[in-house]
């Protein structure tokens, strides 16, 4: 397998024996099976008719229908829940990206009092059991009438996404050379303008990655969405999914179709951040 690949300069792969290649190939197939099978199964289930589903388990479906997707599209799930989630996730993304960009800039470009405190505080968000603020947030939100309010949830999701967004941005911005920004300042741009002209275009992939992460996190967050949006008209996608698959009269064809629908936006955004996710995590772990 590997021997037929023209080896790029950086991966001067020694041509291994065929046995090794076959072993690696088999391992890869088994691993992909383990990690990808549930998705396959969800999709396979979602395109089967009810009769097909109840006539026994078949690894390769023998019926095919898009009726399940049709009923998902026509249900409240898309009309209400997807809409809610899109709104909250978009708001969270904008808020988080702005906050993270400003903060990472302040952190990287300036030495200020409280700089250390800030980085500690950020780590705290992940060290701290968020389930512990579930109770007071619910309590405060209900007193302030912020239950079922999308802005309350956006704020919470932003905090949850903020640390990793910050780390992704910081680790990315650290790799962007500073000299062009300095050149822009020397050649007549203000500090903010120099950043916009010289650094921002180069930092775009990092910013996109951070934004994608924020969106994915908000889109999938269950616990706070569940507690803070009990009103059926305010439920987000994960909360609605939970209602779907834990109800007694469940139709697995429709449930899995909804699951597929909930996964698609994540997959669309995922490739934007896949490359930078680990770098961001590693960055956070060292700070």
């Amino acid at each position: 397998m590997a021997s037929s690949t023209p080896a790029p300069a950086r991966s001067a792969a020694p041509v291994r024996n065929l046995g090794g290649a076959i072993l690696r190939g088999l391992t890869l197939i088994v691993l992909l099976l383990i990690f990808m099978f549930p998705f396959y199964w969800m999709v396979a289930t979602s395109v089967q008719t009810a009769e097909g589903l109840f006539s026994g388990v078949k690894i390769v479906p023998d019926t095919f229908t898009l009726a399940n997707y049709q009923s998902v599209l026509q249900s409240d799930f898309v009309r209400i829940n997807v809409r809610n989630s899109l709104l909250i996730a978009t708001g969270t993304t904008l808020l988080t990206t702005l906050l993270a960009l400003a903060a990472s800039l302040g952190y990287l470009r300036y030495r200020y009092r409280g700089r250390r405190f800030f980085s500690r505080l950020v780590v705290l968000v992940y060290l701290f059991p968020t389930v512990l603020v579930l109770v007071p947030l619910y309590f405060v939100a209900s007193r302030l009438g912020l239950l079922n309010n999308p802005f309350g949830l956006m704020a919470v999701h932003s905090v949850l996404a903020l640390p990793l967004c910050l780390w992704i941005l910081q680790s990315y911005l650290e790799g962007v050379p500073r000299e062009p920004e300095e050149a822009a300042m020397v050649f007549g741009a203000s500090r903010a303008r120099a950043f916009r002209i010289a650094t921002l275009p180069l930092a775009a992939p990092g910013i996109l990655a951070a934004a994608a992460f924020a969106f994915i996190l908000s889109w999938g967050e269950f616990m706070f969405a569940f507690i803070m949006g009990p009103d059926p008209a305010r439920k987000t996608v994960p909360v609605a999914l939970k209602d779907l698959f834990s109800s007694y009269a469940m139709d697995w064809g429709v449930v899995t179709a909804a699951g597929v629908a909930a996964t698609i936006p994540v997959l669309l955004l995922f490739w934007l951040m896949a490359k930078y996710l680990a770098a961001g995590l590693a960055k956070g772990a060292f700070d």
Binding site: P177, E179, P180, E182, A183, A184, M185, V186, F187, G188, A189, S190, R191, I197, A198, P201, L202
Partner: protein, 370 residues
């Protein structure tokens, strides 16, 4: 075009005193090279002039105007960076015209000037290319062009040649000299390369550990280094230092004695009071010669290693247990193990204080009288 003054400038990074009470004046239209090893504070000093670093104390003036409180954009400077620092998403033309656009020059004027500069630097056919498609040397030209396009009162250059390969470095060096002379402008040029300093500068300012060591014209610095560091840093190959040498007086005759050889001195030594008779003797390799037959040699030495450089040959020898090097004509052939007689002209020696390293002046009687 402006003169530049740094007055009592200090910069700390935590406990590290990066620039220590720097006082330096650069004349209008002067090409000043700041030379020093890494960590000497030379780049920090330049960046403070550019406004990219803040001062902890002191003042910086450009053309009589105090600039240290101003942001970089208001200092009327242009800068060439070590890593070119071009704007990757802009074309060559946009890069060159950047400063003019920032200054809100009329578009026609920007175009005209960009073309002019591109012609000057031979960049005409690359104007619409992006920097990443150019070679390192071309990128540095664009960076130069960006600086030239703007008629700044001061040009700062931070090791602009250090990322270029050896051949290109020499070529670009000459170009920068020509440009600077023809533009009649003030340039501050930072480098760790003493050859660049010697060849380009009107004057060199040598720094070490944040402290300015000496300022002077290249040959002055070469001939009369103010201290041992400057003596060792300027000049290739490095000056020989003979530790533990002594000044010796025998009647009217003064001499400086190493453990192996002795050099008579017809000059008076103007020694600091605390020095006693111990000195460090410094002799440049090019000032050690092979003794002609019949001459009284200064020392005898054994050849250890011979490094032919072409026109000249660098020879490492041992005089007794003292290692030394000398630079001789390329056509002379020596072999390791050979015993040679050396002479050292007393006018070419340097004496340094064994503790402080500062130069100990010597003077002839006539000089002293004059």
């Amino acid at each position: 075009m402006a003169d530049v003054g740094l007055l009592g400038v200090n910069k700390w990074y935590g406990d590290f005193h990066a620039v220590n009470d720097l006082n330096l004046a650069i004349n209008d239209r002067e090409f000043m090279v700041i030379l020093g090893p890494s960590g000497s504070g030379k780049t920090t000093a330049l960046r403070m002039i550019a406004g990219l670093e803040t001062l902890d104390s002191g003042e910086i003036r450009i053309g009589g105007r105090r600039v240290d409180p101003l942001p970089p954009k208001d200092r009327d400077i242009a800068m060439v960076f070590q890593n070119y620092a071009l704007f990757a998403h802009m074309t060559v033309a946009e890069n060159i015209g950047f400063g003019l656009r920032m200054a809100k020059s009329p578009e026609a004027e920007v175009k005209r000037r960009v073309l002019e500069v591109a012609e000057l630097l031979g960049l005409e056919q690359w104007l619409s290319a992006r920097p990443r498609h150019l070679s390192g040397g071309m990128q540095q030209r664009v960076a130069l062009g960006r600086a030239i396009a703007r008629n700044a009162s001061l040009y700062l250059m931070d090791e602009p040649l250090s990322n270029l390969d050896a051949l290109l470095r020499v070529k670009t060096r000459t170009e920068i000299i020509k440009l600077a002379r023809s533009l009649q402008t003030t340039v501050m040029y930072v480098t760790h390369d003493q050859i660049e300093a010697m060849t380009m500068a009107h004057r060199i300012a040598i720094m070490k550990d944040g402290v300015l060591q000496q300022v002077g014209a290249p040959l002055d610095v070469y001939r009369t280094p103010h201290n041992r560091f400057v003596a060792g840093f300027i000049g290739m190959p490095q000056m020989n230092f003979f530790e533990g040498s002594r000044l010796h007086r025998d009647g009217d005759q003064l001499s400086v004695d190493t453990s192996v050889f002795s050099i008579p001195l017809d000059r008076r030594v103007v020694a600091p009071l605390d020095m006693g008779d111990e000195v460090v003797l410094g002799v440049r390799p090019e000032h050690i010669r092979l003794a002609n037959p019949g001459m009284t040699p200064t020392a005898e030495a054994v050849v250890d290693v011979v490094e032919p450089l072409g026109a000249q040959t660098l020879v490492y020898l041992s005089a007794g247990r003292m290692p030394l090097s000398m630079l001789i004509d390329g056509h002379i052939e020596l072999v390791p193990g050979q015993v040679v007689q050396l002479t050292i002209n007393q006018d070419s020696i340097h004496l340094f204080h064994p503790g402080t390293g500062s130069a100990v002046p010597t003077r002839t009687l006539e000089e002293a009288v004059r």
